[in-house]
């Protein structure tokens, strides 16, 4: 048996703006991590990734990132993904500015 699969969210950057985006369960791209679909089946995760690769007219660099369930939706596991949910730490830019994601 393989190791237990760590649940994933599918993330990418918006082609025009570069902003970080997440695939939702109903197939939209959201700018909020907690709106992402938390995928806990490896085969489905791979399928979502393949589908996303076909959407290159809107998105760039899709990949699967580890996540876990939280009270308001999926939460990132790794600090890199946490930074991607908000923006840089030296200025309140990125999502901290546009969408007022609390730090």
């Amino acid at each position: 048996m393989s190791r237990r699969f760590t649940p994933k969210v599918l993330t990418a950057n918006d082609l025009r703006k570069g902003d970080v985006i997440y695939l939702t369960a109903d197939g939209r791209w959201s700018r909020q991590h907690n709106e992402a679909e938390l995928i806990d089946d490896e085969a489905i995760a791979e399928l979502r990734l393949l589908e996303a690769m076909g959407q290159s007219a809107h998105i760039v660099g899709p990949y699967l990132a580890d996540a876990r369930p939280g009270p308001n939706g999926p939460e990132p596991l790794h600090f890199r993904e946490t930074f991607r949910t908000r923006g840089p730490s030296n200025y309140a830019h990125g999502k901290q500015e546009a969408d007022h994601v609390p730090l």
Partner: protein, 554 residues
């Protein structure tokens, strides 16, 4: 300063048009990302963590006032009101939209600037001494040679797909302010028996495998420069490893083949290529040199400087750290610190860029320089004007008196921006600066270089910092390795790793322990950190970092 000729202008405009078309084709789906990526990288456009990033070359760090104003305009119009000056004499904008990039590139072309060859496996922006043309210790201004290299390397058909990126630095002084030994090729201008030439260094580099470049030619006559450079790059182009990205830089090629073999191949290639150049270098240089003629210096009685120095403590503190001697006694070189305590090293707001452009026009003959240490330089300021310059800098938050001190830190963008980062660097720099200011030890500690990189690629030059900090990811947590004893000057050295890394919160206390140890052990207040380190070695500092574990591990 160098101004584009018709050829340069047409070339840059054509590139903007081509890239605009490529962006359109990416947006309408005719180009996939895999096809588009190399094209955007050829034009300096990266995708980072939160947005795109556009890297713009500032060849040999020289900038005119009108160019600086245009950078301010770009920052305000298409970015978030600031720009980031880097260790490679580039400026990076962190928030451009893909659809705005053509407009930005046109605005750059309007002032003779571009992003060409700021990425990719080609010869990158040529860097040089940021005090070029002004330094009292200068043998010869390195910029005409750097400009010749820029012209030769731009769009050079043979060298667009090298095994890996290729960086050249040129220095024209005894003091090395361009870190020549950490470049793929370093050139040091020398005059030998009345003949101008270069000491040629090859195969230096930082990154994963830091190496100081050895000398391949102790003296190369100036006229032979281009064929010799071609011979080096052509030899590397054939011999360099394309099977493994981590072994593809010329430093590995030279190391694996041995300097002797590499040199023999270069010398053979040089003889073949030399004939076809037919002494072209002399002609090109004669054409370029007038653009770098010194400005018409005005003679001015430096009395106002002495008067302000005597009475104004803030001015005195600033003059003591931020000025260096100019080749003319009645002038000085001003380093404007982009390292205000708690701010991001290397960042300048649009308002600050405009203020710098205005100061350059009013007091600096319209000239500016960007240093690899992420500061801005006014290379020629009459001493008499220094009090007025200081006052104007104070008004825009640019009068920080810390050049060469602890808070004058190099920091790469790290995980706040960079997609390759393994940890953050900017907040570490911010906290070191504010902490030592708060405890009042910065002046006491004196001259020291702290350099921080957010991953092994070493864009923040941590290997050559007196204290280097490297941010890593250890099992999903930021962790920082400290190196000690690096040196970025003519006595270049790669720092040695002190031991296991430190958690994010433990970095500032660790640096404080090292520096308190230095203060306790230095012979006199004028023995700098690096001098004390060289005298005593790493042991007492490791002891300070790790206590008795250091001895057990030794």
């Amino acid at each position: 300063m160098y101004r584009y000729n018709e050829f340069d202008t047409a070339f840059v405009r054509q590139r903007v048009a081509q890239f605009s078309g490529q962006i359109d084709r990416r947006l309408d789906g005719s180009l996939t990302e895999d096809e588009f990526r190399p094209l955007r990288l050829m034009n300096g456009l990266y995708l980072q963590l939160h947005a795109y990033m556009l890297r713009i070359a500032i060849p040999y760090g020289t900038l005119r006032a009108d160019q600086m104003r245009q950078l301010a305009h770009i920052a305000e119009t298409w970015d978030k009101g600031y720009g980031h000056f880097t260790t490679r004499q580039n400026i990076q904008f962190n928030w451009p939209k893909l659809t705005d990039v053509p407009a930005i590139l046109s605005a750059l072309a309007d002032v003779g600037m571009h992003s060409i060859q700021t990425s990719g496996n080609c010869i990158r922006n040529v860097t040089a001494d940021h005090f070029a043309g002004a330094a009292a210790d200068e043998i010869e201004d390195p910029r005409p040679v750097a400009e010749m290299i820029r012209q030769w390397s731009t769009d050079h058909p043979e060298f667009q797909f090298l095994p890996r990126k290729f960086k050249i630095a040129v220095i024209g002084s005894a003091h090395d302010r361009a870190v020549t030994r950490a470049h793929d090729i370093g050139l040091r201008i020398l005059h030998q028996n009345g003949v101008a030439g270069f000491e040629v260094i090859v195969g230096g580099g930082l990154g994963r495998t830091p190496m100081l470049g050895p000398v391949i030619r102790p003296f190369l006559p100036k006229a032979d420069l281009l064929p010799y450079l071609e011979a080096i790059v052509a030899t590397y182009n054939l011999l360099g490893r394309r099977d493994n990205k981590f072994k593809a830089r010329i430093k590995i090629t030279v190391f694996e083949n041995g300097l002797e073999r590499f040199r023999d191949l270069v010398e053979q290639e040089f003889i073949r290529r030399r004939a076809s150049f037919n002494g072209a270098a002399a002609e090109i240089l004669a054409e370029i040199a007038p653009f770098f003629a010194p400005p018409a210096f005005k003679a001015a009685d430096p009395a106002p400087f002495a008067a302000a120095y005597a009475v104004d403590g803030l001015f005195r503190a600033w003059a003591d750290t931020n000025l260096v001697p100019h080749k003319r006694a009645d002038h000085a070189i001003v380093t404007v610190s982009l390292k205000a305590h708690g701010e991001t090293p290397g960042d300048a707001s649009a308002a600050q860029m405009r203020a710098l452009a205005d100061l350059a026009d009013a007091y600096g003959y319209g000239e500016l320089r960007i240093s690899h240490e992420q500061n801005v330089i006014l290379p020629h300021v009459a001493r008499a004007d220094l009090p007025a310059v200081h006052e104007a800098l104070r008004r825009v938050g640019l009068a920080t008196a810390n050049v060469g001190l602890l808070s004058d830190i190099i920091a790469c963008p790290g995980m706040d921006y960079c997609a390759l980062a393994t940890a953050r660097s900017i907040p570490v720099a911010q906290e070191i600066a504010t902490h030592f200011k708060a405890i009042g030890l910065e002046r006491e500690i004196g001259q020291i270089k702290i350099k921080i990189s957010g991953c092994i690629n070493a864009c923040g030059h941590h290997h050559v910092g007196h204290i280097g900090i490297l941010g890593l990811d250890r099992a999903g947590v930021e962790n920082y390795q400290i190196t000690l004893g690096g040196d970025h000057t003519e006595t270049a050295a790669i720092g040695e790793r002190a031991g296991p890394g430190f958690a994010y919160d433990a970095v500032v206390p660790a640096i404080e322990r090292v520096l308190r140890t230095y203060l306790a052990l230095r012979r006199a207040t004028d023995e700098t950190f690096i001098e004390t380190f060289r005298r005593l070695g790493a042991a007492p500092f490791k002891q300070a970092l790790y206590g008795d574990e250091a001895r057990d591990a030794a």
